[in-house]
Subunit: 204 residues, 2 copies
DNA sequence: ATAAAAATCTGCACCGTGTAGACTTTCTGG
DNA sequence: CCAGAAAGTCTACACGGTGCAGATTTTTAT
């Protein structure tokens, strides 16, 4: 009886809805890459996932929420990978390593990253998700700047404020470059790295 | 007869349609500040301008076009003002002056600027307009960097590429800061100015 | 096994955008 | 003053996003 119950619970963990939800996000990801956000209709997504429009609204409150969930799923993978990457102690190395990872990230997931940014401007949910992600980056940059000798205060020329500006610079620069070519992406990376180094007082 | 014609032409210069167009943009600007982009319907704009929905579609092809035109109108004013401002020769002064003007710009027209950026991501027309505006800034920054001694080549660490990254940094930083408070805007300005100076090799 | 409860799904209606065409009013040139 | 162009209105409709009442299926408790 207890064993039976456990078996039932195990089966119950994976509800039909979970499958559907994954199917919806998978379809959404494919359509996003294929047609773009605005050309992709809720009907398209529903059809691809094998349900009707109405049913989709049982899982997600809106089209934007679907995409926001897709972004969240993708970003989660990225965090996992980032966490496992060791942080170098030497600022110059840390910066180089961070930029290398950022290029990798944008090369592989440029579309989703750009969509995340697009949505973050208009969808509060996506906005919070993205600003949370940005905060992680800002913290990391702040740490590097402080190790390089910048003061840790709250003034406009202290590490946290500088890190914020640098983070936005990287976000925006990569946003544009990733639309062009992998080549541009590498160039953009070099430029950002240079400005970062200079701002950290590590004039090469 | 020619005089008559001239008189008519003079009157004709200001067509009814021009009035309407201005009325539409004025209403749009007010509604945008009042309810935001998505909550503002084409019917609202038309009603505020004293015409019907159909008539509005005679002037503009879409809701997005209306807002794009509003952005264009605002940006044009800015260019005019910028052009009349004399360019300082000394890089340090030029940078300070540029940042001062940028703060002013975002303080007064933060909403339209942010809307422009929001739209530029999804509306091709607005995108071109904005990237054109950005190019003007990038050129200006490039000029300052070169006067400060940076090489003018096309490499990632040469003036044009650096100017581009700095421009995006400023855009994004001001976008966020202008949503917070005039106080934050001034702080953000100080941070950006510092990074700009440092990148130009003008370590204060 | 079975009834209640929860999860899932359908179909329809609503609202706003955008298009098309017919029709009226207002210019404007001659 | 007239004819035609320009400006504006109205109606109808297709389409996409969204909310909802209720049917249907699955799970849970007994």
């Amino acid at each position: 009886m207890p064993g039976h119950h456990t078996e039932r619970s195990r089966r119950s963990i994976e509800r039909k809805g979970d499958l559907r939800e994954r199917a919806i996000l998978d379809t959404c990801e494919a359509l996003l890459a294929d047609k773009g956000y605005s050309a992709m209709t809720v009907g398209d997504i529903a059809q691809g996932a094998g349900i009707t429009r109405g049913a989709l609204y049982f899982y997600f409150g809106s089209k934007q929420e679907v995409v926001a969930a897709l972004v969240a799923r993708t970003v989660e993978h990225l965090w996992e990978r980032s966490r496992t990457t060791a942080q170098a102690d030497e600022p110059r190395q840390a910066i180089a390593e961070a930029m290398r990872r950022t290029v990798e990230l944008w090369s592989e997931h440029g579309l989703v990253m750009r969509t995340a940014i697009d949505l973050s401007l208009t969808v509060p949910e996506a906005g919070e998700l993205w600003s949370h992600t940005a905060d992680l980056f800002i913290e990391a940059i702040t740490a590097v700047l402080e190790r390089a000798g910048l003061p840790a205060g709250t003034g406009p020329e202290h590490a946290p404020a500088m890190a914020r500006a640098l983070c936005w610079m990287i976000e925006r620069t990569f946003y544009h470059a990733s639309q062009e070519s992998p080549e541009k992406l590498r160039e953009a990376s070099a430029t950002c790295e240079h400005i970062w180094l200079t701002s950290a007082g590590l004039t090469s």
